[in-house]
C-alpha cells in the first residue's frame, strides 16, 4: 500500500450560521465578509506545516489539489504548495502527489506540463502527476470554460501533456482548442518516460473508460466513504476487466476522511463538530452548480436522468454518528480505524493508493497534528503491508520510491515493534 496525506486547505472559521446566510461555499462566497488575508496566510502555513509533519511522520506521499473561489478548499495553484513541499522534503522518500493542476483551466495547458516537470526536477523524481478534469464549479463557473467543451478540452490537453513530456523532437500541435507551433518543453521531468499519472474522478462512467484506455491510476475523490462508493468502484473494475487490463490494486486510488483518537468515545468528543462543520458548511452548494447543461454528454445525461439510485443524500440532515456509521468518515480508536479502512476501503474497493484526509473542516492545527501522529503511529504500519502478499508492482508511483520503506517516526517504530 501507498498511503498519502491529502489536504484541502479549508477556511477553518466560517460563521456558525454560514449555510443559512450564504447560498454557496463555492463560486459566490463573499471574501470581504468571510475572510481576512492575514488569517488566510496562517491557514496556508498551517497547511504546509501539517503536510510536512505528515511527511516526517512516515506517510508515503503528500497531496494538494486545485479549487477556485471556494471557502472549503482554496489552493488555486496546487503547484505553489507542491513546490514548497518538494524542496522541504528533499532527501526523503516522500512522493509529491499533485491532485492536481487542472488542465482545462491552464492556458496553454503545457503550463501544467512545465510546472510538473519543474516539480519533478526539484524533488529529484518524486512527483505523482494528477491530471484532473476539474469540477464544473471551478472550470465552468469560475474560469468561464463552456460546459460542452470541458471534456473535449481536457482530453486534448491530456494528450498534449503526455506528448510534450516525451517527444524527442520539437513538434507542432494543431489542435481544436490549442495551437502551438513549437512545443519544446523546458524542463523535462526526471522520471522517464514521464511521471506516473493519476486521474481523479467522481464516478462518471466516461472517466472510467478514459482512465483504463490510458492506463493511469483512477482515483475516486469521495467524501461519502467506501460504502457509498462500492457499486461505482465495482463498475470501474469491470471496465478494467472488460478492457483486458490486470486487476492490479494500484490502478485505483481512493480518498477517505479519517479521525483517530484513543478510543471511539474520545474520537466523538474531539472530532464531531469538525466533521459536522465539513459536511454542513464546506459542502454547502446548490446542486445546479455541479451539472450545468452540456457538461455531461448526451449519453451520460440520459443515463443519470433515468437513474434514481444515485441521488445524493442530504448531508445537512446527518450528524457525526451518521457520518461514522455510514462510513463517510472512518473515526474511532486505532483498532476501529485500521479495521474499517482495511475491510471497507482497501479490500472492499480494491485500492492500492490510499489518500487520507486528516485535517477536516474546522479542525485546528494542533488537533490535526494529533490526528496525523496517531494515524502514522497506530494505523499506517498495519495498512502498509496490505497487497504485499500478492506481489503487484505499483506502476503508478515514482519508480525510485516504489520499494522505499518510509522510516516511521521513532514512536511509531516502537509501537509497531511492541
Amino acid at each position: 500500500m501507498k498511503i498519502s496525506a491529502f489536504h484541502l486547505m479549508p477556511h477553518r472559521e466560517l460563521p456558525d450560521d454560514f449555510e443559512k446566510r450564504y447560498e454557496s461555499v463555492w463560486v459566490t462566497p463573499p471574501w470581504w465578509e468571510l475572510a481576512d488575508a492575514r488569517r488566510v496566510g496562517q491557514y496556508y502555513n498551517w497547511t504546509l506545516d501539517e503536510l510536512l509533519y505528515a511527511a516526517r511522520a512516515g506517510f508515503d506521499g503528500v497531496c494538494t489539489n486545485e479549487h477556485h473561489q471556494n471557502a472549503y478548499g482554496f489552493m488555486p495553484s496546487p503547484n505553489l504548495m507542491g513546490s514548497v513541499l518538494a524542496k522541504a522534503t528533499n532527501g526523503t522518500d516522500v512522493a509529491i502527489v499533485q491532485m492536481g493542476a487542472t488542465l482545462p483551466t491552464s492556458n496553454p495547458p503545457i503550463r501544467v506540463a512545465e510546472e510538473y516537470a519543474m516539480l519533478d526536477c526539484i524533488s529529484g523524481g518524486r512527483l505523482v502527476a494528477g491530471l484532473p478534469l476539474g469540477s464544473p464549479m471551478d472550470v465552468n463557473f469560475c474560469y468561464g470554460i463552456t460546459p460542452m467543451e470541458h471534456r473535449e478540452r481536457y482530453r486534448e490537453a491530456f494528450a498534449l501533456t503526455l506528448k510534450a513530456w516525451q517527444a524527442r523532437e520539437i513538434f507542432s500541435w494543431n489542435g481544436r482548442y490549442y495551437q502551438l507551433a513549437n512545443v519544446n518543453l523546458w524542463p523535462r521531468p526526471i522520471q522517464q518516460p514521464h511521471p506516473p499519472v493519476w486521474v481523479p474522478g467522481s464516478g462518471s462512467i466516461s472517466t472510467f473508460d478514459f482512465a483504463v484506455d490510458n492506463d493511469v491510476c483512477y482515483c475516486f475523490l469521495s467524501y461519502s466513504g467506501a460504502k457509498a462508493a462500492h457499486t461505482m468502484m465495482q463498475g470501474y473494475w469491470q471496465v478494467v476487466t472488460d478492457k483486458g487490463r490486470d486487476p492490479n490494486p494500484y490502478r485505483a486510488g481512493f480518498l477517505q476522511l479519517v479521525a483517530v483518537a484513543e478510543s471511539d468515545t474520545h474520537a466523538e468528543e474531539k472530532y464531531a463538530r469538525h466533521v459536522e462543520y465539513f459536511y454542513h458548511k464546506c459542502l454547502h452548494w446548490p446542486l445546479e452548480l455541479g451539472a450545468p447543461p452540456g457538461n455531461q454528454d448526451y449519453r451520460s445525461l440520459l443515463a443519470s436522468a433515468r437513474s434514481n439510485v444515485r441521488r445524493a443524500e442530504d448531508t445537512k440532515k446527518l450528524r457525526y454518528r451518521d457520518f461514522v456509521e455510514k462510513g463517510y468518515v472512518i473515526a474511532g480508536s486505532p483498532a476501529t480505524v485500521r479495521d474499517r479502512i482495511r475491510e471497507e476501503v482497501v479490500k472492499g474497493l480494491r485500492v492500492g493508493n490510499l489518500m487520507v484526509l486528516l485535517q477536516i473542516g474546522s479542525m485546528p492545527h494542533e488537533l490535526t497534528l494529533e490526528n496525523m501522529a496517531l494515524f502514522s503511529r497506530e494505523v499506517l504500519p498495519h495498512l502498509r503491508p496490505l497487497w504485499d502478499d500478492e506481489g503487484w508492482i505499483n506502476h503508478w508511483w515514482p519508480e525510485r520510491l516504489r520499494n522505499a520503506q518510509r522510516p516511521l517516526a521513532q514512536a511509531a517504530v516502537a509501537a509497531a515493534g511492541a
Partner: protein
C-alpha cells in the same frame, strides 16, 4: 405539419425543419429550450409558409451533431447553408432569445438573405449594470418563475408541467437540458459574442418585440438593438415575460405578421 431534415456542414450537421402553411417564407429560430410547435407558429402559418429549424444538436437522434461546430461563425454559416437549401429567396426571419441573437448575426452576415427581421427578447449584448440571468444555472422551478410572467399559465405548464408518463417526463427534462447545453455552447459564460461589431451590417427593416416583464433579459436591452439598427422599431408586450410569443401568442403573431407581411424591404 411537414417535417424534413436538411443536412449541412458537409453532411455532419442534420437539422430537422418543421413547416406549415403557404404564402411567403418565414423562418423562425427557437430559443434555448428547444423547439415546440406552439399556437404562435400556428397563427403565423395562416399567412406564411413557416419554417422552424431545430438548432444543431437539438433534433431527435442527432444530439452529437453540435460537436461539429466550434463557434458562432460555424453556426451562422450552417444557417446560411440551411436558408440556401430551403430556397434562395429572401425570407422573413424571426428569432426568439438565443434564436434572436442567431437571427441578428445571420442578418448581419448575409444581409441579402433577409427581407424583414423580427427579434423577440433577443440576447447578444451585455450591460454590467443589468446582468442577464444565466438560465443554465437555475433549477427547473426557478427557471419557470423567471421565464414566465405567469408561471402558472398554460404555456408554462406546457414547458415545465408534470407529465404523468415518467418516461415522457424524463424525455422532456433531457430535451430541455440538452437544448440549453447545445445553445449554451455559443454563449457561455456571457452572451456578448461580438454582435456589437457586426450589427451595423443588418439592412433588413427590423422589429424588436419585448415582453415587458422579462426577468431574464430586461427590457433595457431593447435599446442596445434599436440604436444600432437603422429604423428599428421596438414594441413591448404587456403581461409577458421572456417568451411573449408563448404567453401572448395571438397578439405577438399579429405584430410579427403585420410587420413581415408589409410591402418593402426587398
Amino acid at each position: 405539419m411537414n417535417e424534413q431534415t436538411v443536412s449541412v456542414w458537409q453532411g455532419r450537421v442534420r437539422m430537422r425543419v418543421l413547416s406549415k402553411g403557404d404564402g411567403p417564407p418565414l423562418v423562425f429560430l427557437h430559443g434555448p429550450w428547444g423547439l415546440t410547435w406552439d399556437p404562435f407558429l400556428d397563427h403565423l402559418a395562416e399567412r406564411f409558409t413557416v419554417y422552424a429549424p431545430e438548432h444543431p444538436g437539438t433534433a431527435p437522434d442527432a444530439p452529437d451533431d453540435v460537436y461539429h461546430l466550434d463557434g458562432l461563425w460555424d453556426l451562422v454559416l450552417c444557417y446560411d447553408e440551411l436558408l440556401e437549401a430551403l430556397g434562395a429567396e429572401p425570407v422573413g426571419l424571426v428569432g426568439h432569445s438565443f434564436g434572436g441573437m442567431v437571427a441578428c448575426e445571420l442578418a448581419a452576415a448575409a444581409p441579402r438573405r433577409v427581407r424583414r427581421l423580427v427579434l423577440i427578447d433577443p440576447i447578444g449584448f451585455w450591460r454590467d449594470g443589468d446582468p442577464i440571468t444565466n438560465w443554465m444555472t437555475l433549477d427547473a422551478g426557478r427557471l419557470r418563475d423567471m421565464l414566465f410572467h405567469d408561471p402558472g399559465s398554460e404555456p408554462a405548464r406546457r414547458m415545465f408541467g408534470v407529465v404523468e408518463d415518467p418516461e415522457a417526463a424524463i424525455a422532456a427534462r433531457v430535451r430541455r437540458t440538452w437544448a440549453m447545453g447545445a445553445t449554451g455552447k455559443f454563449i457561455w459564460p456571457i452572451p456578448d459574442k461580438g454582435l456589437k461589431k457586426r450589427i451595423h451590417r443588418v439592412k433588413a427593416p427590423t422589429l424588436i418585440v419585448w415582453g415587458k416583464e422579462d426577468r431574464l433579459v430586461p427590457l433595457v436591452y431593447a435599446d442596445e438593438f434599436s440604436r444600432r439598427i437603422a429604423g428599428a422599431r421596438v414594441q413591448s408586450v404587456e403581461t409577458a415575460g421572456h417568451a411573449p410569443h408563448l404567453e401572448q401568442p395571438e397578439k405577438v403573431a399579429r405584430m410579427v405578421a403585420d410587420f413581415v407581411g408589409a410591402a418593402g424591404g426587398g
